[in-house]
């Protein structure tokens, strides 16, 4: 079975541009979360979606938005890019919301975003 897949793996954008990152969860998984990992730090929570509904939002500006599609894949959108948005964006997939009984959370390989 395929793991969590993310695209693109690497991209370079200019300040002020818009970016869309994509994530396909493990087959059968209904929960997708997004995390931002700046170099040298632990990942920071951005969004969690379960059954196509937003279930949680981290402390990120409104320039960040996301959605989950009927097939449970997800997109993360970032508008008006700033240099500080340069980071690894990780998608996490799980069968249930994070504390669902028996739940395990798996990560994709991430999308490296560089803003210049």
């Amino acid at each position: 079975d395929a793991g969590v897949t993310q695209s693109p793996t690497h991209l370079i954008k200019t300040r002020g541009q818009h970016v869309t990152l994509r994530c396909s969860p493990i087959s059968g998984h209904k929960s997708v979360s997004w995390y931002q990992q700046v170099l040298g730090q632990g990942p920071q929570f951005i969004f969690q979606y379960y059954e196509k509904e937003e279930r949680g939002r981290g402390n990120f500006p409104d320039r960040f938005s996301a959605r989950q599609f009927p097939n449970y894949s997800s997109e993360l959108n970032v508008n008006a890019l700033l240099l500080g948005d340069s980071a690894l964006y990780l998608c996490a997939s799980s069968l249930l919301p994070p504390t669902g009984i028996g739940n395990t959370i798996y990560f994709g390989e991430g999308s490296w975003l560089t803003v210049v």
């Binding site: 990992q37 632990g42 690894l88 919301p97 994070p98 990560f107 991430g110």
Partner: protein, 112 residues
């Protein structure tokens, strides 16, 4: 609110020896899970071990085991018979209802 603290930015161990990575956490949620993830230079976050907070028995996965002290809110990872492939950043994380909260990580070096 949840916080996770890893007080050891770097650790090193001789190949084949045992090393323990420390983690403390705080959460207001009654139902939560704890995880250790490994992040090699490729940056993919790989699950090492998981502990349900309602279970008293410490989780084990082959050479990896945890010491879970719920009252002390401590969750350390022990790696036995360390191998060169264990070299990586290790992150402790606490899963609440909505999200994982990660610590700052511990960089583990394995000396041959």
């Amino acid at each position: 609110a949840q916080t996770v603290t890893q007080s050891q930015p770097e650790m090193s161990v001789q190949e084949a020896e045992t090393v323990t990575l420390s983690c403390t956490y705080d959460t207001s949620e009654s139902d939560y899970y704890l995880f250790w993830y490994k992040q090699p230079p490729s940056r993919q976050m790989i699950l090492v071990i998981r502990q349900e907070a309602y279970k008293q028995q410490n989780a084990t996965e082959n050479r990896f085991s945890v010491n879970f002290q719920k009252a002390a809110k401590s969750f350390s990872l022990k790696i036995s018979d360390s191998q060169l492939g264990d070299a990586a950043m290790y992150f402790c994380a606490c899963a609440g209802a909505q999200k994982l909260v990660f610590g700052q990580g511990t960089r583990l070096t394995i000396n041959p």
